[in-house]
């Protein structure tokens, strides 16, 4: 066990800090700023920020150099994560492409596909969305019904996807579609890449429980996709998607955002009046804040263990599912703690007089509830842990 950063690593960190000092002035979250104003400008700003960061060598650290990556060490990846969090830089607009599709193409894509798509994911020139879930295929993803029929050199796709982030602005979509309706449900699915400008695609934005628009429905009506946009084998999409889902669950980014949240909440609780003192005078609340700190540290070091295993060439093991489940529970406890910290004021909506921190905590609460649904519900995570880690018999037999 050894968590030292080498002198070389520390040098790397120093260079990054210098770069961030020089660039974070214009790195204010451009999307957040664009609330009711200049949406297109904000979008361009977000693309620009990712490109700037990439050009400096801080995006796609694990990716092959050939396709615009850095082939950096995992330690360097950790350093970049840490420093971006420290400087509270805005999130990257093309996250889905970076965390899900990119790694999938590196493993399963053809050379042509890699050359064609990877660099533009990194530079944010092409934004990606994911077309997996369907109205009747949520937790039971393999029940998906979207069909892709082969017609000459093309797939013809018809069906409906849902819970698709970024769909209204995405340039491309990676999706799962059923190419063999007669095969067992997991064996007739293919993994396709689709240009969102193709005729036959209709996007319908969905309003979420918090009132915001984060998801869309995407309808495909005989949308034609060239055959060379198939990833991996025909009918072999399910296995690829499973890998994809595992990518989605790894990473230390949760820790960073949770840490920021706790820090902010701690500040609020230390100043918010409660009776004759402040909210954080309550000893029970103090323990819960300490407990939240414990849980976040746990998540951090769980992430480090997963990384260590990857560095050593071992499979990440339980880490990914465990981390995702723990993080989503933690996020909810933290949001609940925030509302209890607010006391009577927790009933106030965003724009109300007397609202605490501009309504951040109610938003965080809704967000937290969404986190244990999106990307596999907590129930599905527990199934996964029980079956794949503990080796218990399947509870869901179909």
């Amino acid at each position: 066990m050894d968590l030292h950063f080498s002198a070389e690593d520390e040098q790397y960190r120093l260079r990054l800090r210098e770069w961030l000092e020089a660039h974070t002035g214009r790195a204010k979250n451009p999307l957040a700023a664009g609330g009711g104003g200049d949406i297109m400008g904000a979008l361009q700003g977000a693309r620009d920020w990712q490109r700037t960061l990439w050009e400096a060598g801080y995006v796609g650290l694990a990716w092959p150099k050939e396709y615009g990556g850095q082939e950096a060490t995992l330690t360097q990846q950790v350093i970049v994560n840490q420093e971006l969090a420290r400087y509270s830089t805005p999130p990257l607009i093309n996250t889905i492409g970076l965390t899900i599709l990119g790694p999938t193409l590196v493993v399963n894509g053809t050379d042509d596909q890699r050359r064609r798509f990877l660099p533009k994911i990194l530079s944010a020139e092409e934004l990606w969305c994911q077309g997996f879930s369907e109205p009747e295929a949520g937790s039971d993803l393999a029940s998906l019904r979207t069909r892709a029929e082969i017609d000459g050199d093309e797939f013809v796709v018809t069906g409906q996807k849902v819970w698709t982030s970024l769909a209204p602005i995405a340039d491309w979509c990676f999706l799962l579609a059923r190419t063999d309706p007669n095969a067992p449900k997991r064996e007739g699915i293919s993994y396709l890449l689709c240009n969102m400008r193709t005729p036959g695609i209709k996007v319908n934005a969905l309003r979420n429980a918090a009132g915001g628009i984060h998801f869309s429905e995407v309808f495909f009506d005989e949308v034609r996709i060239p055959r060379d946009q198939l990833v991996g084998e025909l009918h072999g999409g399910w296995q690829i998607a499973r890998t994809t889902l595992e990518h989605e669950r790894s990473g230390l980014s949760n820790v960073l955002s949770l840490e920021q949240t706790l820090k902010r909440l701690w500040a609020t609780a230390s100043s918010l009046q409660q009776g004759t003192g402040v909210a954080l005078d309550d000893p029970s609340l103090r323990r819960e804040f300490a407990r939240a700190w414990v849980d976040i540290e746990a998540l951090r070091y769980l992430g480090f263990r997963t990384l260590s295993a990857q560095i050593a060439g071992r499979t990440p093991g339980a880490g990914a599912s465990v981390g995702k489940l723990h993080a989503s529970q933690l996020r909810q406890r933290l949001a609940d703690l925030a509302l209890r910290t607010e006391g009577p004021l927790a009933q106030l909506a965003k724009r109300s007089p007397h609202v605490v921190d501009r309504g951040r905590w109610v938003a965080a609460y809704f967000d937290a509830l969404g986190h244990s649904i999106g990307g596999g519900t907590a129930e599905i995570q527990r199934n996964t842990i029980a079956e794949r880690v503990l080796g218990l018999p399947r509870s869901v037999v179909d």
């Binding site: 309003r207 429980a209 918010l272 409660q274 009577p344 009933q347 724009r351 109300s352 527990r382 179909d398």
Partner: protein
């Protein structure tokens, strides 16, 4: 001994449930979230008043329906279930306070409130992060034959359209409710917005001048003798307790509604070839919610009886039911979101409306920690007394 609703209460419950189902759509609530607050149209307010529900717990001779606390709770629970605005419980509570304050307060105002032509609501909470009468800093000071009220109230429920505010203020002998006309000079009302779209507001009282008898009950010291009116401090506190109890009943209705829609969804929604309600991850969570709901209902009935009988443990039981109702409502509505999956997280489904009402209700009339502290203090006092 009987510890369930009487036949009359069951009939009232069924009538209220039917009425709200026919006359109130949850779409009003959803739509109003974009343009808050959610309000009861005048026509509907007139209807519920004529049905006798605004004055449900006011004496018949004072213009009310003569029901007890348990009967009022039936209405509050059904309003919660239907997401009907909490104005009904707010005005109902203020009406009870007026009724109990003695003959001085029976008459035109109270009759108008019961008839739906006038409105009164209570104003307890203040900036400063604590709930209830003990946290009141607003003062009511006698100045010759005037009573001068100064202070600041927030989170005042259903404040718009009200003509009389029953403002909780500190007096030399405790806390008292003072009847303040909403249009009195020195009163400034600013709207606030609740997360469920509920109508609340801030009321600033800048040395508001009132007649000396604007105070409900007597604030004379206990040994001052023969005042026949209610004790002002006890009245203010029992009014807050009544509001708390009705708030708990509202949350119980919300919890039951969320449980019902989720149970129905779990029966219908098929994943992996089976209704999801056949998975224990779903069914056991709903069973736990049912336990929460039944626990809450049991405590609600107990608290109603204790209040109606004026028992010394009434305040403790009111706190108990609020603790239980807070938890039941949060657990039921969070389970509803989680078990509906993605669809439960959409604007179109009602699930988030229940969640909003639950969270708003928890933050009103005291959260769990507040009431547990209150129970502990009362317990300790009771032990010290024996």
């Amino acid at each position: 001994m009987d510890f369930e609703l009487s036949d009359e209460q069951v009939a009232l419950r069924d009538a209220a449930r039917d009425y709200f189902a026919n006359r109130w759509s949850r779409d009003h609530v959803r739509d109003a979230l974009d343009r808050p607050p959610v309000v009861v149209p005048d026509e509907l307010w007139q209807e519920v008043a004529e049905l006798g529900w605004v004055g449900i717990a006011v004496a018949v001779e004072a213009g009310g329906s003569g029901g007890d606390v348990a009967t009022a709770a039936v209405i509050a629970e059904e309003a919660g279930r239907a997401l009907f605005p909490s104005a009904l419980a707010s005005v109902l509570t203020a009406a009870v306070a007026l009724d109990r304050a003695g003959d001085r307060w029976r008459g035109a105002l109270l009759e108008g409130v019961c008839a739906g032509t006038r409105r009164a609501v209570c104003a307890f909470e203040e900036p400063g992060g604590a709930w209830g009468p003990d946290a009141v800093r607003t003062t009511a000071v006698r100045d010759g034959d005037r009573l001068v009220v100064s202070g600041s109230k927030i989170l005042v429920a259903d404040v718009e359209g009200t003509d009389t505010l029953l403002v909780a203020a500190r007096t030399p002998t405790g806390v008292a409710l003072v009847a303040v006309p909403a249009d009195a000079p020195g009163v400034t009302i600013t709207p606030m917005i609740r997360i469920d779209g509920g109508q609340i507001g801030e009321v600033v009282l800048d040395a508001v001048q009132l007649p000396a008898d604007a105070l409900l009950g007597s604030d004379a010291p206990a040994d001052a003798g023969d005042d026949a009116g209610a004790d002002a401090d006890a009245l203010a506190r029992s009014t807050y307790d009544l509001g708390t109890l009705l708030g708990a009943a509202d949350l119980l209705g919300v919890a039951e509604a969320a449980l019902a829609v989720t149970t129905a969804f779990a029966n219908d929604r098929v994943q992996f070839g089976r209704p999801i309600g056949s998975f224990q991850a779903v069914s056991h969570r709903l069973a736990d919610v049912l336990v929460d709901v039944e626990i809450t209902r049991s405590l609600l009935y107990a608290a109603c009886l204790a209040m109606d009988e004026g028992r010394p443990d009434a305040a403790e039981l009111v706190s108990a039911v609020k603790v239980a109702a807070n938890e039941a409502a949060v657990r039921a509505t969070e389970a509803a979101v989680q078990l509906h999956g993605g669809i439960g997280f959409t604007w179109e489904l009602d699930v988030h409306l229940y969640l909003r009402r639950a969270r708003a209700g928890v933050a009103t009339f005291g959260d769990g920690a507040h009431h547990l502290d209150r129970i502990f203090a009362q317990h300790t006092q009771a032990r010290a007394a024996t």
